[in-house]
Amino acid sequence: MNTEELVEYFRAQMRTDPDMASAVAAIRTLLEFLKRDKGETIQGLRENLKGATDCLTGVDSSVAVSSGGELFLRFISLTSLEHEDLSRCKKVMEERGELFLEKISMSRTKVAKLCHTFIKDGAKILTHSYSRVVLRVLEKAAAEKKRFSVYVTESQPDSAGRQMADAVRNLKVPVIVVLDAAVGYVLEKVDLVIVGAEGVVESGGIINKIGTYQTAVCSKAHNKPFYVVAESFKFVRLYPLNQQDVPDRFKVSIFPPGALLSLCFLYELFSPQYKADTLRNMSNLSEEHPMIDYTPPSLITLLFTDLGVLTPSAVSDELIKLYL
């Protein structure tokens, strides 16, 4: 399976299920790659998988894809590969891969189950930009017959917030779109803030759409709880010290939208500044506008993951367990 097939399969996965996280699509692609791989040795297989992950990161340079790929690789090799026969080993790895995929498909449901209890009746929630995990949480809360209302920030430059508002409206929940600049104004009325994450870093901080950091600082100033919902495959072995320390390759990530329409919109109309290969063309990134920012752990109250409800300092513990 060469590069083009890989990318095409990945894009196809994204198209068939717009609700799926890009990392999940990447992992599906890697699993397919594993099945079709014709390598002779396990080392070679591993090298090929790593190459495939890098290739996918080149297409969609979100943090989640690279972390998901690495976790996938670790998970499938975390078994006894003592069989002499390569095909037997491959079978074992494929089974593990399917297991992993199954686990992470359930992760959003697990997160929603954990988080919806924190939404009380009559609550006013503020969220930022478009996140499918947050949507799932709100779905679950609405299904539990809770009455709440939602404020969504517009989240320029791609107005992903409007998309979120449409989706929430479909849940029959009252929703208001606010300007990004109005977050401080609105926070008085709000009871809690829930955001998703593109990546969760070792310090317990998160990488998310630009504007999250501001929201976090404002909510800290107002003493409102700031909750993050994220699946565990988004945990990544980065440790940024400040905004400048986040690697540039993540800053120009394409924020994966859900609807097919927005996908085309982004790629064709908005594309030149925000595509992943911008990095290769542009040299002066200070004139670029990053799509993501880093929120330090001191501003986050709790993280809801499929591994449980964690405080920011527990994230490192989980990461050590996952990676060491």
Binding site: L241, D245, S313, S316, D317
Partner: protein
Amino acid sequence: MAESGVTDGLGNTEDIERSKTEGKQLTKEEKQRLRKEKKQQKKNKEKSDENASHEGEKKKKKKKEEKPVGSASQPPAQPSPKVPAPPAAAVPVPASEAPAPADKPAKSKADLKAERRARQEAERASKGKKGDVGQPAPTGKLKAPPSELQPVVKRLPEHVQVDDGIKTPGCNAAENVKIPLRSDYGYKVSLFSHLHQYSRKAPLTQQLGIPSTVIHPAIVRLGLQYSHGIVAGSNARSVALLHAFKQVIRDYTTPPNEELSRDLVKKLESYINFLHQCRPVSASMGNAIKYIKKEISNIPSQCKEEEAKLKLLSCIERYINENIILAAKAIAKYSIEKISDGDVILVYGCSSLVNHILCEAFEKNRKFRVIVVDSRPRLEGREALRRLVQKGISCTYVLISAVSYILPEVSKVFLGAHALLANGYVMSRVGTSQIALVAKAFNVPVLVCCETYKFCERVQTDSFVSNELDDPDDLIVTRKGQTQLEHWQEVPSLGLLNLVYDVTPPDFVDLVITDLGMIPCTSVPVVLRVKNMDQ
């Protein structure tokens, strides 16, 4: 070597000091015991000859030092059974044998108390001893164990009682290493009165008599190097300790009817006590000692001596290599990712690890400049400055009083650590927490670099409960021919405080770089857990 000649006068002042602080502790039972002893002593008057009383005085004085030393060395997690565990009151010490109180001609109140203490010390030290030989009769700052009256108080002949220091339990008399206790020097600030303050001009080795020293010369030399500050710095001290232990192991022969695994551990314990007297054992040294003791006790008894010794030597080599040398390489590798071109890096004092990192980064052609912050009285920053400038790194040198002036220019702060405590606090050279605090106020990221062998299970939230006091005379400085503090001892209300360490809370530290990777400060117990699982 000078004869063991601590003056009587000095001993008496110690007695009086002690009686002042512990006058309240004489309970009814103790009085009864003392009365019994008086009777015993009258019987044994014939046996008292030689310099028994001198020994008694010296023992008393040294035992007094020994007690807080014991409690201070407990935190660095030394599993030495010799070290008396609870510093606080009421420790019933079930002594299997009778203690032997000191033979004191004068029966003043202070002396009686001294005797009582001597007996308690003897009981404690004789725990686990095989025969009733060589009972120490020293005294210490022990409070009386309330209900440990010995029904029979056996008296030992005085010449057997010649013991002027800490005893290692489990040894028989022939091997008892007599380690003299160092005396405190000068007035101690009341907040730190539970710590020791020694003078560099009175090294421990002056009190070691030639025949009585059963301490290996490599250890004696090491102790002197520690107490004079010739070997300083956490890594340097650990490596020097391990090299000295290697020499000890090379020269060691198992005595007949003894097992190497048990006997060597005992010997090492007495050496460690000596070293602790010269300069309190650091956390990294404590961990190294724990490792060695474990290795020694794991040697199977059927192993031949030569084989065992070779095995131990290679273990120590490997420990040094893995935990210090290779760890430094790994940490440098991680740190280089955090150093970008155009950085202005602030360092404090002289940390071997931080210097190594900066030199490596410079070799990898990173463009940065360094600001070295220094402080009195050690002025270690000059050494760091020298090393960095030699490599060609452009440096600025400031004193710690100027740190808030220079911080707006700084992009990162790199700090070394003496130890990382289990609650995430960083124990490092005094002044480190100040720098971390100011850096936090300026929003400058603070990175601490520390190898994992320095992680310890102790918990501490302030710098008072356990620290080290250096020689107060170091603070005296002569400027323009005038030495203002020359006669500080004569001013009764004046105390000079020369602290060595302080603790930095984890809120001020952004990142800890270890050989296992980059972790937040709060994840230290996770690493400890992972390491314990590996073992």
